[in-house]
Symmetry: C2
Subunit: 89 residues, 2 copies
């Protein structure tokens, strides 16, 4: 899968990411992965839910994976939770 | 599964919920469900990750479900995203 199909959710408005995901589907992608870390995880879930309920109604949540990523230098990194939401139609 | 196996994550300290989940496992539960809504979703993921990496290392993420719940009166409810994380050992 091309990198284009991955939308990283951060601190911008939820609808900015919703539109990015919708654009990916409209450009022909069969699957879009929504990724986020830390406090942005809640927003990533909002993005997935808004996309599939309001914009791409045939989209389904194929998989949700959670994990832990280490930020910063090796050995002194801060741990942060992460999520990957796989939306497919 | 009994209601005891469901831990609702809200605005308290993350470690309070971690301890609640660990206590459930230590009391003999084979599965614990961590639930949260809205901004608490990020904290729920933190809780699951901390439990399985630091306290109950044999626990695995069996399933993660996301959804939308309607709060308040019918027809005028606010929609909020939700998550359910199924931890099992």
């Amino acid at each position: 899968m091309s990198e284009d199909n991955i939308i990283y959710v951060g601190k911008k408005d939820t609808m900015d990411y919703v539109m990015a995901v919708v654009t990916q589907f409209r450009s022909g992608s069969a699957e879009v992965v929504i990724k986020a870390r830390g406090k942005a995880i809640s927003r990533a879930v909002d993005v997935a839910e808004i996309v599939r309920h309001r914009f791409v109604r045939e989209a389904v949540v194929k998989d949700v994976r959670i994990g832990t990523e280490v930020l910063g230098e090796e050995g002194e990194g801060t741990k942060v939770s992460s999520i990957e939401i796989y939306l497919a139609r």
